[in-house]
Symmetry: C2
Subunit: 472 residues, 2 copies
């Protein structure tokens, strides 16, 4: 940490993104989805900022539940493990920013931070970097700087910034008069005719010391609690007491140090299927087809599926998102209401908003192919060199048939290798462990469970690489 | 066959019903679907007519491909096997009627026939029986009698009948002036204001001898070919040469003996999803929901699924039909165009129009749960007391895990019983046979196939209860 005035990226990646249901789930939120390219949104965000900031200064704040997925998605970037900061529970953005700012201040008091949402879309990387560099210069003068995107059209659902006078620092920066959170359609129509209204991009640049001062001033309870946290110690109990609040509402709407740099890049918070639809490339008649499908005479539709054949006819302004266990069909202007569906599922104690049918695990994934009376069939995929916990089940036996790769099975205190086209039977109460011993090839097994109780909680873990107690 | 002037039911059940895709498939046509109740359409048709005609006089004409499904669906009715007449290929209705009429005439020259489509909906059984009885009386006087349904609204897609003068037999019957096949909306609006236009129900009653005379007169080629067929002998070669033609077009539109009985029952040919929608009971806002689903603010929608959770929002006049491998979403007025989708699939040599994901077999069914590189996972269900062929595969091995019931496995020339939670390995080239030895319980096994070629045609059959050569 030798660079004076070094700039750190702080990527906020703790969101649950229920607005992209059924593609997003609680355990597969928007930032981890590949909605626009082969890179997920968080991967795109890192790829973009690392053109300016070395990976050792890229910090990620996320929910503890996402640790394995984050590591999987970050593996190619070589971001140090210690740069991943885990929130024990989601508390909105102000506590996350405060936590990182405080840790960073202890290590590097002269540092600056650029706070970036993990799940937004930005298209012109050069314009983006230019804006950050300008904002950094302004931030060095003690401002809390936001990037204000020049509005391209009258978008509802966004936050707007009204600027005041220009700042005299040889930079094209403005003082901020006020933030307007999701204004009405009428107001927006007026805003975009003027030159002093911008979209709030949620990208902020400031000196670590200044944001801490402002937190102390405007959110003193949060400041106090954050200071109780000892680096490298468990802070679950302290975190629990912290009140959730956004950095926008908690600090930016109150502080007198807020400035804005106008930014020209194409930007979207893709807060709904409709806003994604606005951005994706259209075929003839405004159609976006990301599926094996046939359409007859539809206009302006989005069809999204990986699994099945979809035929559409005569539709207009409709969004269809198909996943193995849940399907969404809605008119465009209802896509903001997807949260209501997620709430419904939550209230009914269902799982279609929590997991996908293929459930991600630290060691790989599993898919329940079929459930019947007294049996369950799973396809289990174990990544190279990974292994499940040493475990036993009281109430079920398991048949494993290896269909791809090679399995190393610990069983009856012995170790056995099982190749493709071989099988093994694990009776109830028998400690066992499944491992992929190969370096470059996934292991796939079909697991047939039989017994009178086949839930995930019938796992007694004797040892686990991932320090898990309850869930496999 | 002692009854003089005995009435026989001839149920036409050879249709492919592509208009109900994706619920209907070539191998699961409309007549076999349970669209309105726990009985399939053909089961409803039989239940209805057997109030008037004993099962020994109920004949079914169907395609040879449907023999196993017909037997499965007819098992509770105790219709003799010999009453099922198999067409080697579909030739439309006139050849089917001619074939049955000729066979029937040889057995019972004084007989009458009531010809019934297997896949229409009729709601009031009493009115239906009354109409048949009246029609029979008229038919005994030498008429070809059709039932004309009193039109309830201006339906396109139906055939219409225009009646001429009343017939003097003390019966409310009319001579038919002409048939109008699918008239325009304009014409229909005029028709339904008058009293002499009716829907052509496709239900016909006539003396066997009279229809044969008329076939001889108007379709002499067909008559000649039908007479070449020897009862109980293979007639594939003769059948191949027969030209397809409908009984309506071939006979009824030409014969001078055609009469009509007005019928008051509620009737629909349910020729499309839209027409089914017209008939099914609506919830609030005209919604028909046959699925695990949540709707917000939609109007007049049909949602049909057995598998997954479906969320709909803000839709109007939309039909959604979801199956495990194909999904249809269309506006109501496009539902007549479903054939186009089926044609597309046919042209692309796909299978989503032929089979369902769960494929019906004479011994039960199988579902492909997953296919990967070098493996295929199936759930196989064998009905009580049924067995697969004695077979071997050159290019694949099979692991079977019994998950329900008991399997009798013939293997290495020995017989072995395998119970739930046990498994067996069948290497390539090993003759084997799988059987459900139990009387009342299905057998379910998970079959994991491994090998470099996993298609259905790698089956060498050594013996088969169902006389099949190619497909398992």
């Amino acid at each position: 940490m030798k660079d004076k005035k070094a700039l750190y990226a702080v990527i906020l990646a703790g969101g649950v993104g229920s607005r992209f249901w059924p593609l997003s789930r609680q355990m597969a939120p928007k930032q981890f989805l590949k909605v626009i390219s082969d890179e997920s949104l968080i991967q795109r965000t890192i790829s973009r900022i690392k053109k300016l900031i070395p990976v050792k200064r890229i910090l990620i704040v996320t929910n503890v539940n996402y640790i394995h997925e984050i590591k999987r998605q970050l593996s190619n970037f070589k971001i140090p493990d210690k740069n991943i900061i885990l929130e024990p529970e989601a508390k909105n953005t102000a506590p996350a920013v405060a936590l990182v700012a405080r840790n960073l201040f202890l290590q590097d008091p002269a540092s600056l931070m650029v706070v970036l949402p993990a799940d937004h879309l930005i298209f012109n990387d050069k314009l983006f970097i230019n804006a950050i560099v300008k904002a950094k210069n302004l931030a060095e003068n003690g401002y809390l700087v936001t990037l204000g995107v020049i509005p391209k059209k009258a978008m509802t659902g966004y936050g707007y910034i009204k600027t005041a006078r220009k700042i005299d620092h040889g930079i094209n920066g403005y003082l901020v008069e006020k933030f307007i959170e999701k204004p009405s359609q009428d107001k927006i129509s007026k805003f975009i005719k003027r030159k002093n209204y911008f979209w709030n991009s949620g990208i902020f640049i400031w000196k670590t010391s200044i944001i801490l001062e402002e937190i102390k001033k405007y959110l003193p309870q949060l400041y106090k609690r954050i200071n109780l946290i000892s680096p490298n110690k468990n802070f679950e109990a302290i975190w629990k007491k912290i009140a959730p609040i956004s950095i926008d509402y908690g600090i930016l709407e109150r502080s007198r140090k807020v400035a804005m740099i106008p930014a020209k890049f194409d930007w979207s918070d893709i807060g709904s299927w409709q806003s994604l639809k606005d951005i994706l490339k259209k075929e003839r008649a405004g159609k976006i087809i990301k599926a094996d499908s046939l359409d007859i005479d539809s206009k302006n539709i989005l069809v999204w599926s990986k699994d099945r054949f979809i035929a559409t006819m005569g539709l207009k302004d409709v969004i269809i998102v198909d996943t193995p266990d849940a399907l969404l069909v809605c008119r465009d202007d209802y896509s903001e209401k997807v949260r209501k569906i997620v709430e419904f599922l939550k209230n009914k104690k269902r799982e279609e908003h929590i997991f996908h049918k293929t459930v991600s695990r630290p060691w790989g994934s599993y898919t329940v192919l079929e459930t019947g009376s007294g049996f369950k069939i799973k396809l289990v995929e174990i990544e190279p060199k990974k292994r499940l916990s040493l475990q036993l089940h009281h109430r079920r036996a398991e048949h494993w048939v290896v269909v791809e790769g090679r399995a190393k099975v610990t069983y009856k205190k012995k170790t056995k290798y099982i190749d493709s086209n071989q099988s093994i039977y694990i009776p109830a109460d028998m400690p066992h462990r499944l491992e992929n011993p190969l370096k470059n090839k996934p292991l796939k097994i079909v697991e047939v469970q039989t017994g009178n109780y086949l839930e995930e909680d019938d796992i007694i873990r004797l040892q686990d690489d991932y320090k898990r107690i309850k869930v496999d």
